[in-house]
Symmetry: C2
Subunit: 204 residues, 2 copies
């Protein structure tokens, strides 16, 4: 079997529109932001596309992703929601799922990689479950499977968001007596770093 | 006092280069990604600029930010590090600080908004500490103060990163008996959502 190139894949579906752009632009935007064509971001972009269509045009939608891997970038590339503007919340649950919802009504749609459906696209299933070494599944083969499968490997249900929505209040700010930096009073008498959670040590 | 427009600010410093671009492009890139010209992202971009200069050119740098607000976007706009590609780690400490470090040697620089220094730029101090209502501090005045202050309100020290670096292993994946979705075995007998941490409820 000869392996398709990305260009072959793009030429195959000239009319495909994902997140408002052609497949070529969709893939280019992923590479530009994420740094490389990660299968997880391509899948994620298709999930965003489905959620956006369900939520409908003209709705100001906020987002939740249930993993730190890939999905935050799919949302940040294809919606106005970013980690830093607060419209995207990132849960570290390692579940390949995302929700877009109307920030006014809190009604939205959750889309996830459905393992039972993914079994019918074994490359996707094996890749996601870590059942095949990277060298045995070339990126082009996996991407071609993902593009062909499109929404057939996802499930999507309407949901009402019950927490994590809205702007988080900043709360009372204190100055840490150890490091002199501002931190939320809620954390206690010292900031998190001075309480021992630091990730760095000084060097000269 | 007449308020300066963004254009006035840009025209004032035609030779200023921040994160490899003119002030006009720097501000335009922030607005395009973040959705609006947030003072926190402008400050964050100046912090990234200082950290990048210290780390030096040609170094593959990973990043840590110590707040979910604004700083994740400053890093994502001006470095190759994103939330979804794993090169940016986001701590929810609400500290206005970031670290860029060489991913090979783990040596880098931490830059933070230094409150004592910020006192000399009262608009920045008052804004950050929440001491002035938004309506009393026009965005243009605050931005002008930030651009003029530049690095004078930051401190920067060399650090060695001691945790949070590198790729996190995916670990064993299980299928949740309740929802049928994949999740990390470490979380227990059910996934986080089925354990009661869910943020949504189904609707018809």
């Amino acid at each position: 079997m000869s392996t398709k190139t990305i260009k072959d894949m793009v030429d195959q579906v000239p009319d495909l529109v994902i997140c408002g752009r052609s497949l070529a632009d969709f893939l280019a935007d992923i590479e530009a932001f994420h740094g490389f064509l990660a299968p997880g971001v391509v899948l994620g972009g298709l999930m965003v596309d489905q959620a956006q269509e369900k939520v409908g045009p003209g709705v100001e939608a906020d987002a939740v992703v249930e993993t730190c891997r890939c999905l935050p970038d799919a949302v940040q590339i294809f919606t106005p929601c970013t980690a830093g503007n607060g419209w995207l919340k990132i849960l570290d649950w390692q579940k390949f799922a995302l929700t877009l919802y109307d920030k006014g009504t809190l009604l939205g749609y959750r889309v996830w990689l459905d393992l039972e459906k993914a079994r019918r696209a074994p490359h996707i299933y094996n890749w996601y479950m870590g059942l095949v070494p990277k060298k045995d599944l070339p990126l082009e083969v996996l991407l071609d499977t993902i593009i062909k499968a499109r929404r057939s490997v996802f499930s999507c249900v309407p949901v009402r968001v019950t927490r994590l929505y809205g702007k988080r209040e900043k709360g009372e700010i204190k100055v840490c007596p150890s490091c002199g930096e501002a931190y939320p009073a809620l954390q206690g008498d010292q900031c998190a770093a001075c309480q021992g959670q630091g990730y760095y040590e000084p060097r000269e």
